[in-house]
């Protein structure tokens, strides 16, 4: 799957803990994944499952705070966690860049869009202001802002939501980074605008051959954008593998839950929505064993109290070595095919 010289990004056993007055918040607990250049990984999971925290850790944004970060984040052969703050800073925005969810609050209201984008270029390149401006114009043009020479001196509030996100993308890509982390880049946008932005991201990825981590709630976005998908729950990966595999043959009840709790625009209108009962767990005192067990309706299908006592390993399931899951269920495929799929996508059964 990956070229011989190893993946471009490899995250190994990433742990991010926040000591707080009430105890340690284990926001990310032993996360591992790899990503090659030109590839996209989609990270999905409920709110608070540690998606943003993990990606911030890759960018080194927890430096200088009380957060405890450990593990290995190897990007292009360098372990980012071993770098000094200054070395990390020089990589931030140049080799790794981030596109945030809410572009209005993520842009400084007092500086022009052009200024903020050029700033990202100036800090990593020894060029004149004029050159930076020219480069900014070029980028704005590239992300599809009409009349960039007129809009470059506008302030963020003068842009529409979609344009702001484009500008954010321009800012993130101006230094031609190898890795782009897009944290819910379209959640605040309308579907039509979302489609535009996703198109843009994909075009740019092809152009720059960058690796993308896309964080989202929306399985549809993952399905259309990502090569791999990583499903997170309570700070851990619970299912990880090629998108096609994971979304067509999910092997973990949590993934089933995600799939079954959102309706589908094309599916059978009679399909039921099956919610995941209960609420996401606290990261202060995550449940013992499998963190998902209190909400898992298939718990009874696992012998003894394995689910409540033992944390399942992230192991390959029946779908081949690339597709791993964290579940004690013996034959999830069968369960999915017979019990879940008929409920949520009855129309697909025939095809399968």
């Amino acid at each position: 799957m990956h070229s011989n010289d190893g993946p471009y990004l490899s995250v190994e056993d990433l742990v991010v803990h926040f000591p707080t007055a009430d105890g340690i918040v284990k926001a990310t607990d032993g996360l591992s994944f790899t990503l090659g250049r030109g590839k996209t990984i989609g990270v999905v999971g409920e709110s608070g499952s540690g998606k943003s925290v993990s990606s911030s850790a890759i960018l080194g944004l927890h430096r200088g705070s009380s957060a405890q970060v450990s593990g290995r984040i190897v990007l292009g052969g360098t372990d980012l966690l071993m770098l000094s703050d200054e070395e990390m800073r020089l990589r931030r925005g140049k080799e790794v860049s981030m596109i945030f969810q809410d572009p209005l609050s993520a842009m400084h209201p007092y500086y022009t869009v052009g200024n903020q984008i050029a700033e990202a270029y100036l800090v990593h390149n020894d060029v004149s202001k004029k050159a930076a401006r020219a480069r900014t114009l070029e980028m704005l043009e590239r992300v599809g802002i009409p009349q960039p020479d007129r809009r470059i001196d506008d302030y963020p509030h003068q842009f529409s939501g979609g344009m702001r996100q484009r500008a954010m993308i321009a800012m993130g890509l101006i230094n031609d980074p190898g890795l782009i982390i897009a944290d819910e880049p379209t959640t605040a946008l309308d579907v039509t605008v979302q489609a535009q932005i996703l198109d843009l991201l994909q075009d740019l990825q092809r152009e720059f051959n960058s690796a993308i981590i896309i964080i989202t709630h929306d399985l549809g976005v993952v399905a259309e954008m990502a090569d791999d998908v990583l499903v997170m729950y309570a700070g851990r990966a619970v299912e990880y593998g090629p998108t096609k595999d994971v979304l067509t043959h999910p092997q973990m009840p949590y993934t089933w839950g995600l799939l079954s709790s959102v309706p589908d625009v094309q599916g059978d209108t009679n399909a039921a929505l099956i919610p995941i009962p209960g609420n996401p767990p606290s990261l202060l005192n995550p449940p013992t064993g499998c963190a998902f067990h209190p909400r898992c309706v298939h718990r009874s299908k696992v012998p003894a109290d394995l689910c409540t006592t033992t944390l399942p390993e992230l192991l390959p399931g029946s779908q081949g070595p690339g597709h791993t899951k964290r579940c004690h269920l013996a034959d999830p495929d069968e369960l999915y095919r017979t019990e879940i799929l008929p409920e949520i996508m009855p129309d697909l059964i025939v095809e399968d």
Partner: protein, 344 residues
Amino acid sequence: MTIPASEMEGHAVPPLGESEEGVAGKVAGRSPTQLAMARFRADKLSMISFYVSCFVVFAAVASPILVKIGVFDPDGLNQDKLNTDLGGIPHGAFGGVSWSHPLGLTPGNGEDLLSRLSFSMTYSLGIALTGTLITVLIGVVLGIISGFSGGFVDATVGRFIDLTLSFPQTMMLLALAAPTVLLIRKDVSELPLLGFLENPDLANGLFVVIILSAFGWPPVARVVRGQVLSIREREFIEAAKLIGASRKRLYFKEVLPNVWAPILVYTTLLIPAYISAEAAFSFLGVGIKPPTPTLGNILRDSVSWTTADPTYFFLPGIVLALTVVAFNLVGDGARDALDPKTHR
């Protein structure tokens, strides 16, 4: 001690469809206020400041009683214990410290400093608290009205705020002091039930309170108005309208409980500000007049005894600083406790 909210979300609330958790008995929740109090209690500095403030309040309340029963004698002269040749410095070490005068005597007349400092709290705190109360009352009423009504009423209150703020406060304080106090003592005190205002201390105190509140309310009104403006936009207000809530209910049941927090914070920060203000005013000769002890009066006298009687110089200063700092820290603590955001 605090139960983290997220923990409750995870476990205490039964998930849908799980009927096994049939908790017997009533489960009482903790109100935001209770949570804030718990947070406040967890902060050591705030608690210490709170105890200091309580002690000060206690002194303020107890002093008049102690004076009545003769334990304290803030006006009693002990000129025989002074060295008149040196301008009336107390005999003995540390400004004449003794068992009967634990903090020594004041130079000049030899009054008991402990009695005076303690009794001064009654006046200083009395002024600060009354001033705060009135300030907050005016501010809250005008703030809520203008915030909720909007339009013309809001604009009028806004202009009224501008007008109030345009007056130079200290100058008005100076210029109005004599005439107003005269007016209070002469005319206002003739009104029924207000006879006590004939007393110069009360009249002067009232004047300070009037000035403090007359110029102090605009910020409160602005804060409250701002709060109300944002609360007005919250959906629960619309929800209340939708279930047919009356205007009265909207104001007092829906809006008011939500502005208490900033009001409380403002109030606790206003008290120390007013204590300092009283002290500053007395330098200008405004407010309760000596020899009645207020922090300002004592400080104003003590500041000229730096070298001649250092004890007398230091003690009142320390008491004032301690009081103001303590009240301020209580206010800061209240703010942190009431606004969990600042905790992060």
